[in-house]
């Protein structure tokens, strides 16, 4: 069906366009901007007056919980949540059960996702078998099955020999490696930032050096191997500085931060609020400010939801025993808008960190609204405030530190390949 999106404010970070212009879609692609092509007859007209028309969001870290953890969430519920959040492409880490370390599992996940026909799902393959940090996976076969990159998810890779070899092997085939930098020994047993709040609450700490030591190690191995590495979910100010220096050196390193970490700090733990039990831990206010600033000045490339739905039974426990993770798909756009507004950034810049930049990191044809591109579109009201409640969240995970708070931004339409997959 041909689609005409009219009267919207068109924002495309990749081309740097922020203007009032109509969008014309045919056969799943954008066929014209501004004025309609000759004999274009729209099957449907979406009136986007007062709304923003932007590329669909690209989310670099989404746990769909399938296979293995269907009681927490299923592909179907979470893909619906993604569309409600304006997300049209997402990367999912390999820490499913079983982990994504065999081509068959990846093909099955891709097939399941395709049959639901909602958003594009890009699996990350396991870097090591069973994520055990010992044997390399069949990366070439996994890549053929659809893996975009290789990752250890949150499983530790303590053996630097294995990490070194994994980066050498992956770089042989120019496969990117995504790593969440954390020294497993320093983080062992910890559940909160090793600082003032953990001391007060009597929680075992994870020092900031657990992250910086891991980054320093990875940076050195990138220097040695030339592997392209994406660092996931930074949490420390010093970590941002290390990445900034590595980029200045010209190393092929990129990084992201979770939307939660762009807003929250250890102070938000309050009286043992288990909804704030996340990985990596919320750190000091100074760290959070550095993450926000780094995201604005480009030291950090992208903002991700770090979506990790957790069932109530696993959260209604004393802080340390509660399963880490927070739901995030439907909060990515609101938290990006809140961040951008607080730093007084133009929308063009705010939206870049959830569209153009993550699409480049993932290496997918998305995150842009140029003519000829697939019509993955997010149409939203940037000014509408919405209260986050368990009822409004479509995700099966209702656990978020933002429950009960009002956030800006309300998605009105989400289009994937020219099809309207969400209307709100």
């Amino acid at each position: 069906m041909k689609l005409h999106i009219k009267n919207g404010r068109f924002i495309d970070p990749r081309s740097g366009t922020d203007t009032k212009q109509d969008v014309f879609i045919a056969a799943g692609h954008i066929v014209a901007l501004g004025s309609a092509p000759a004999d274009f007859k729209a099957g449907r007209v979406i009136d986007a007056s007062g709304l923003i028309v932007a590329p669909g969001l690209v989310d670099l870290s989404v746990r769909l919980r399938e296979p293995g953890f269907e009681y927490k969430a299923t592909l179907e519920t979470e893909m619906h949540a993604a569309t409600a959040g304006g997300i049209t492409s997402l990367a999912c880490p390999p820490d499913t059960d079983p982990p994504l370390d065999e081509p068959g599992l990846v093909e099955m996940l891709k097939h399941r996702a395709r049959s639901l026909n909602l958003v594009h799902v890009y699996p990350l393959g396991a870097l090591t078998v069973q994520l055990a940090g010992k044997r390399l996976t069949e990366m070439v076969l996994l890549q053929e099955a659809g893996c975009m990159a290789f990752s250890q998810a949150d499983a530790p890779l303590a053996d630097t020999q294995v990490l070194w070899r994994a980066l050498q092997y992956a770089s042989t085939f120019e496969f990117p490696v995504w790593l969440r930098p954390q020294d497993g020994f320093l983080a062992q047993g910890g559940v909160a930032h090793d600082g003032e709040v953990a001391t007060r609450l009597g929680l075992a700490g994870i020092p900031a050096s657990a992250e910086t030591i891991a980054i320093a190690t990875i940076v050195q191995l990138v220097r040695d191997t030339g592997a392209r590495v994406h660092l996931q979910r930074l949490s420390t100010a010093r970590g941002v500085e290390l990445v900034r220096a590595a980029k200045a050196e010209g190393l092929p390193i990129s990084c992201d931060v979770s939307a939660h970490h762009a807003h929250l700090s250890e102070m938000d733990l309050g009286y043992f609020d288990a909804r704030c039990h996340v990985i990596p831990p919320f750190r000091s206010g100074r760290d959070r400010d550095a993450l926000r600033q780094g995201l604005a000045d480009g030291a950090i490339d992208a903002l991700c939801s770090d979506h990790a739905p957790v069932d109530d039974d696993a959260k209604q426990l004393p802080f340390a025993e509660a399963e880490p993770g927070a739901t995030g798909l439907e909060l990515l756009l609101p938290l990006a808008l809140k961040w951008g507004a607080e730093l007084k950034l133009p929308l063009l810049k705010t939206l870049a960190v959830v569209t153009d930049r993550p699409a480049r990191i993932l290496g997918i044809p998305a995150g842009s609204l140029a003519v000829g591109e697939a019509a993955d579109v997010c149409i939203f009201d940037a000014d509408a405030m919405q209260r986050v409640t368990a009822e409004t969240l479509k995700s099966q995970g209702k656990n978020t530190p933002f429950l009960g708070t009002e956030l800006p931004g309300r998605v009105r339409y989400t289009l994937v390949g020219g099809q309207v997959v969400f209307e709100g």
Partner: protein, 315 residues
């Protein structure tokens, strides 16, 4: 953020931590404890303040001593006491913490005394139970042991009277100590001007100075001129590994001997929450010596726990 310990009138609903309690509330507890001291010396050691109430000792972590003192305190207030050692019963069958609490609530409990290995567990329970129920934290992880902190400050006030000119040193494993945290909050809330922590860097938590204490690694410096020395228990499992090389070496650097105690004021008192490791954190000559008030601490502990329970029941 609402303080989960106080009800809508600002009165004590639960006792979960000393931190965040108003000074007047602390003083009220100490003064109430004063009034119970006499009772424990009487022929008939009972008052009827909690008659008809059911107090559940809910211990998810083993402790004979603390459980017993709570039991005695509740019985002296004429309450019915039910002791449950949960680590040996339902949680091993897979029941969740809150399911256990719901079941016991259905048995018409009035008060839960909770000990749990996880910091914050009593908060979870307090936020979950019906509003007529009271929760007392009897020790949660490394976080808090408020009745111990209160009995410690009670003991200090008993022997030293004027808190506004005291130097108090807390020595040893502060990192893992809920006793230290509760006592430090009690001392700073009541205006003790000089609170010190003494220990190796491995046993002091990050940013401990933000609690309002001075940090010493050299015990001789830390003890100089102190009025009160509080020794902390060193758990067996911390004695050799990456935190400490050996119990012997710990004793050499941080064990309280008569020689080290001589650096404190001549009338200094020595406290310990018990149970003591003689020859690890404290020399027997000190533990049994004239400066030691370790056994009076235990006696005062019952009065303080009676005070807390009666105040909660009255609110």
């Amino acid at each position: 953020m609402k303080n989960p310990q106080l009800n809508e009138h600002g009165e004590l609903q639960h006792l979960l931590s000393v931190e965040g309690l108003p000074r007047d509330t602390l003083l009220h507890i100490l003064d109430t404890a004063d009034s119970f001291i006499g009772i424990t010396d009487r022929e008939v050691k009972k008052v009827p303040l909690l008659r008809g109430k059911s107090v559940f000792n809910l211990f998810f972590e083993n402790s004979t001593r603390t459980r017993t003192t709570f039991e005695i305190a509740a019985k002296r207030l004429s309450a019915d006491v039910i002791n449950l050692n949960i680590n040996t019963s339902s949680t091993t069958k897979g029941e969740t913490l809150l399911d256990t609490v719901d079941n016991l609530s259905a048995m018409h409990a009035d008060m839960f005394i909770v000990r749990h290995a996880s910091s914050g567990a009593p908060y979870l329970i307090a936020q979950h139970v019906a509003s007529h129920l009271h929760v007392i934290n009897a020790g949660d992880g490394r976080h808090a042991h408020p009745t111990q902190g209160l009995l410690d400050i009670y003991t200090i006030r008993h022997y030293k009277r004027d808190l506004s000119a005291l130097s108090v040193a807390v020595v040893g494993d502060v990192l893992h100590s809920r006793v230290a945290r509760s006592l430090i909050h009690a001392l700073t809330t009541l205006g003790v001007p000089d609170v010190r922590v003494i220990g190796p860097k491995t046993l002091l938590p990050a940013g401990v100075e933000k609690l309002g204490v001075k940090v010493f690694h050299d015990m001789n410096h830390g003890l100089a001129g102190c009025d009160v020395v509080v020794m902390l228990r060193l758990q067996n499992e911390r004695m050799n590994g990456s935190l400490l090389p050996s119990a012997q070496e710990f004793f050499k650097s941080y064990g309280l001997t008569p020689e080290k105690l001589a650096l404190a004021k001549p009338d200094a008192i020595v406290m310990h929450p018990g149970p003591m490791n003689r020859g690890v954190e404290i020399d027997s000559a000190v533990a049994d010596g004239p400066h030691s008030v370790i056994l009076p601490q235990v006696t005062f502990g019952i009065a303080v726990r009676m005070a807390v329970m009666s105040i909660l029941a009255g609110n």
